[in-house]
């Protein structure tokens, strides 16, 4: 049996900024990969971050 507060607690744990970011990154994986390969930078206003990286040649 799961109580109301336990459900609330699980919902809060799943709704943290980093969990949301993780889902967002997974959803936009291809787009990010492409931007990093092309410009070395990917900027996402909804996540509030700028990701810089070098993509190794395949």
């Amino acid at each position: 049996m799961v109580g109301d507060l336990e459900k609330l607690s699980r919902a809060l744990s799943d709704d943290t900024p980093e969990k949301l970011a993780e889902r967002e990154l997974q959803q936009k994986a291809e787009q990010i990969q492409e931007a990093l390969r092309r410009d070395g930078v990917y900027e996402d206003a909804s996540l509030g971050v700028r990701i810089s990286a070098r993509v190794a040649a395949a």
Binding site: M1, V2, G3, D4, L5, E6, L8, S9, L12, S13, T16, P17, E18, A21, E22, L25, Q26, A29, I32, Q33, L36, E43, A45, L47, G48, V49, R50, I51, S52, A53, R54, V55, A56, A58
Partner: protein, 308 residues
């Protein structure tokens, strides 16, 4: 007389321990108030007062406590004990018996009171211990909720006693080591949007939210946004947030709160560090990963406009 004795016993053994437990725990945790059903109240009452009571009974009967470990040491036999209680109860039932055996009744009552005081001293001591363990177990919910045994106990015993406002408006749900803060957007009933960090929250007699104390509070200038939209001015939304003057804490009465949007952000830098690890994990072929925070929608407006 019987009614008086029954009330005293009920007060000392059930109500007082329950109230002490509630008051002590409320110093550290916001407990649920009367939103609980009557059955929940009784179950909580029995759990709070019953556990130390039963433990005290077992410890006394097993002989683990007694002798010099009690405040009123009485050197008497089991027969004397039974006789004292018999005398006191008989005198309580019959005025005639009490009138005829006044001296004996008072002597017995004195010994009965001392034995009860011995019992209650341990009972209340164990009650404080129980309250302390309860507070510790609840406080570590964020750390231990992943543990199966603790999770089972928490969902059945600990969480039903905690106010949902404590779960929502504090970092209760997260490990202390994460050092999160609680940020909130509050829409008031007069349609003003506020935001800030929650410093404290207050509950009413029925457990309802009676007020919120915010630090770094800001008010969203929606009228200004509407005017700018009319004049086709497109500015960064951050610029419409205006700090509430005074710089101190801002109190919002519960009756004026229409809705809340609550966030539990990590300290500055930690979010970016976590995202860096995520990117490294997600994209195996990337190197020199760095993640930095950007203010939302930075392409429009500037900071100077914010103070206008």
């Amino acid at each position: 007389m019987i009614a008086l004795m029954a009330s005293a016993l009920l007060g000392l053994y059930v109500f007082a321990p329950y109230i002490i437990f509630q008051r002590f725990c409320s110093l550290f945790i916001r407990l649920k108030k009367s939103q609980r059903s009557k059955t929940d109240e009784i179950v909580q009452g029995i759990f709070a007062a019953g556990l130390p009571f039963l433990l005290t009974v077992v410890l006394f009967w097993s002989g683990c406590i007694g002798g010099s470990f009690v405040p009123f040491r009485l050197v008497d036999s089991h027969r004397q004990k039974v006789s004292d209680y018999h005398t006191v109860f008989t005198a309580a039932f019959s005025d005639h018996y009490f009138t005829d055996h006044q001296a004996e009744t008072w002597e017995s009552l004195d010994r009965v009171c001392k034995r009860q005081a011995d019992f209650l001293a341990w009972n209340y001591g164990l009650l404080f211990l129980e309250a302390l363990v309860f507070v510790l177990l609840v406080s570590f919910y964020g750390e231990w909720k992943g543990n199966k045994l603790y999770g089972w106990f928490a969902s059945r015993v600990l969480l039903p006693a905690v106010s949902e406002w404590h779960v929502l408006l504090t970092t209760f749900n997260f490990p202390a080591r994460e050092n999160r803060s609680v940020e909130v957007d509050v829409l008031s009933k007069d349609n003003i949007l506020y935001r800030g960090n929650i410093v404290d929250h207050f509950l009413g007699v029925n457990g309802e939210l009676s007020g919120l104390l915010l630090s770094g509070a800001q008010r969203f200038q929606y009228e200004k946004l509407k005017d700018d939209r009319k004049s086709n001015v497109d500015k960064n939304k951050e610029l419409y947030w205006k700090p509430i003057p005074g710089g101190g804490n801002f109190y919002l009465p519960g009756e004026n709160i229409a809705s809340l949007n609550i966030r539990y952000p990590l300290p500055k830098g930690q979010y970016e560090r976590i995202l860096t690890e995520m990117v490294k994990k997600l994209f195996k072929n990337v190197t020199d990963v760095s993640v930095e925070a950007i203010p939302p929608d930075t392409s429009k407006g500037n900071d100077a406009e914010r103070s206008k």
